[in-house]
Amino acid sequence: MKHFRHSYLTWLIFAWVTILHCPSSLAASNDQEYSIKAAFIEKFTHFITWPQDKHSTDSSNTFNICVLGNNPFGDKLDTLARLTKIKKLPVKIYYLNHDDDISYCDIAFITRLPANQINAITHKARDSSVLTIADTPGYGEQGVIINFYSKEQFLGFEINRIESDLARFRISSRLLKLANIIETHGGTP
């Protein structure tokens, strides 16, 4: 039953992705764009391994996805959390302010923020092994591990290898080959 639900969800996401992946669809709707991003976020977890101590110290037994700043996803992430598990754990979505504690988050999606705040967040995230994802140009260089970008109607992403290593993530080479690799330090707060 679980498997069915999982497959059902995957099918659903892929249905969206397929529909939305048509050229010109990306710009057409903000709503559809974030559906794809939500699906991508879930897919990233398949190819990324969190450090061993991340989940053993975390007693919540949930996979926590935090959104810092204004939520651009609408209810997409909530639907995701309701329908699927990540790393065999139930998914929980937290909507936080940029200065909230993010140490319990597994993934932190960072919306557009002032530059000094980004550094503080990436620094915190690095220590707590939080996978930071953003969709603002230049954030990759600033220390966000995965940063979406749009190019010729195509949703691509860049990965900061230095930051991912510092946060002790192990990223599958198969995922890396799809990404633009950035190798810069995010700096310190």
């Binding site: 497959s7 892929f14 397929t18 897919k43 198969r174 080959k177 799809l178």
Partner: protein, 495 residues
């Protein structure tokens, strides 16, 4: 047409050895080639399946994140693998996602639930493998590879196998040609020796023994056989020689005996002539002078003198009869038989009539002669025999008031018997063996006159005809004489 049975033992051996090794080698090489081919195909299948698995695995993110460019790049990695004609990635909906190579777009061959499907066509091998990521079906990969190179390899391998087979067959034929001599040479030698023996008839030839095996034993036994044949031949030659000598001796003695017999015969003829003429002359003188005495000196003789002279004359008549009979007996022994159809009935009637007329006393004689009796015999001789037997019957029934004489015939087991039966004086069977002996008489001359030569003459005649005669009788109860002829009809053609 050449039949396998007509081939020489040498050719047969070579053929057998060569064909056995050919069959064995062929079987081994066919099995080996089959196994090797299977192994090559299996290896290729495994290799391509492995490549499909790695490539599929590598394309996982391409499919997950729908990155067609990346997928195309992934497939282009296959160019390092030779023989790949085309490759294609399909997404979870089985829609073509990315492709590589210039082959025609390929139909999906794996639409079922199988993870991996391998299909072989005439010149290609297609592997279609489903790609799963974390138990989720995300697409599939198809790789088509040319098997021409593999076929070339297999063909080369078969060619090599055939070459090995040919070389090995030639080698085994050569080997068989030399090694068959071990078996064929002794047999051929033996055959040659036996041929020599057959042509020359010389049993002293011996066959050479080559080995201690069955053929060696055969040579040994044939030598023994030849030796025993040699002994036999010598024995036979000696026996033949002895036989020839015995034959020569026998021939000489036969020649001598024949000469002696001829001399004896001519002497006997001379003797017969002497008897018939020279003995008769004094008899005639005795008889003549006795008659003259009776005629001219009758008045000067008394009754006793006349009686003596009559006795003298009777004696000379008997003497004459005896001479006649003896001459007849001698003639019968010498005369040649002339077989012809002889009417027994007719002859018997003639004899009986003539003898009846000579009878002095009138007496009641009943003679019954069976009609139509015939035998194949010499007419003259048989007449003498029948006359003797019938006259005997009349003589020995002289004292019977009512004489009964029966002449009949009977056929028994292909032999015809002529029997003359009377009811006369008969004889004692004790002395039956003397019946046919010359000059032997069972009755005294005072009882019945006779010379004792008649039955001996009959016996001689019957024996000359290769027939038999038997006499049966009892004193005063009559006698019966039966002549038995082999029933041989008269052969008119040969006469």
């Amino acid at each position: 047409m050449i039949s396998p049975t007509n081939l020489s033992i040498k050719t047969k051996l070579i053929l057998i050895i060569t064909s056995v090794s050919l069959v064995t080698l062929s079987l081994v090489l066919i099995l080996y080639a089959y196994g090797e081919t299977r192994h090559l195909i299996k290896s290729l299948e495994e290799e391509i399946a492995h490549i499909a698995r790695i490539t599929g695995d590598y394309a996982t993110t391409d499919l997950t994140f729908k990155d067609k460019q990346a997928a195309t790049k992934t497939l282009q990695l296959l160019q390092s693998t030779p023989n790949i004609i085309q490759a294609a990635l399909y997404d979870a909906d089985n829609t073509l996602f990315a492709s590589y190579g210039k082959g025609s777009p390929y139909q999906l061959i794996n639409k079922g639930h199988q993870v991996e499907v391998i299909k072989r066509t005439e010149s290609t091998l297609i592997v279609h493998k489903k790609i799963h990521h974390q138990n989720e079906f995300i697409g599939s990969i198809l790789i088509e590879v040319s098997t021409r190179e593999l076929q070339g390899e297999i063909f080369d391998f078969i060619l090599l196998t055939f070459l090995i087979l040919t070389v090995m067959t030639i080698f085994s034929a050569i080997l068989a040609h030399y090694s068959q001599r071990i078996i064929s040479k002794p047999i051929l030698d033996l055959s040659e020796k036996i041929k020599q023996v057959k042509e020359s008839g010389d049993y002293s030839i011996t066959a050479k023994k080559h080995s201690e095996d069955e053929i060696g034993k055969l040579s040994e036994n044939i030598n023994l056989l030849l030796a025993s044949l040699e002994i036999r031949k010598k024995q036979r030659d000696r026996a033949e020689h002895e036989l020839q000598q015995a034959k020569n001796i026998l021939e000489r003695s036969v020649y001598e005996r024949t000469k002696e017999l001829e001399v004896a015969n001519s002497e006997l003829q001379t003797f017969s002539y002497t008897v018939s003429h020279d003995l008769r002359a004094p008899l005639r003188s005795i008889d003549g002078f006795s008659k003259m005495l009776l005629d001219e000196y009758d008045d000067r003789l008394d009754a006793a003198g006349r009686d003596y002279l009559k006795r003298v004359r009777n004696a000379t008549v008997r003497m004459g009869d005896l001479i006649d009979d003896l001459l007849l007996l001698a003639r019968i022994s010498q005369s040649e038989l002339r077989h012809e159809d002889f009417d027994v009935t007719q002859t018997c009637h003639t004899i009986v009539n003539r003898l009846r007329a000579l009878e002095n006393e009138q007496r009641n004689i009943e003679v019954s002669i069976e009609d139509n009796m015939h035998v194949c015999a010499d007419k003259k001789m048989m007449t003498i025999a029948l006359e003797n037997l019938i006259s005997n019957a009349l003589k020995y029934t002289r004292r019977e008031k009512h004489a009964v004489i029966t002449i009949s015939s009977e056929l028994h087991k292909g032999a015809r018997s002529i029997c003359i039966k009377d009811n006369g004086a008969g004889f004692d069977m004790v002395s039956a063996d003397k019946l046919f002996t010359p000059l032997q008489r069972l009755h005294s001359p005072s009882e019945f006159e006779g010379t004792g030569i008649g039955l001996a003459t009959v016996y001689r005649i019957v024996r000359k005809h290769d027939a038999s005669i038997k006499g049966e009788g009892a004193p005063n109860e009559g006698a019966c004489f039966c002549m038995t002829f082999r029933d041989k009809p008269y052969d008119y053609e040969s006469k």
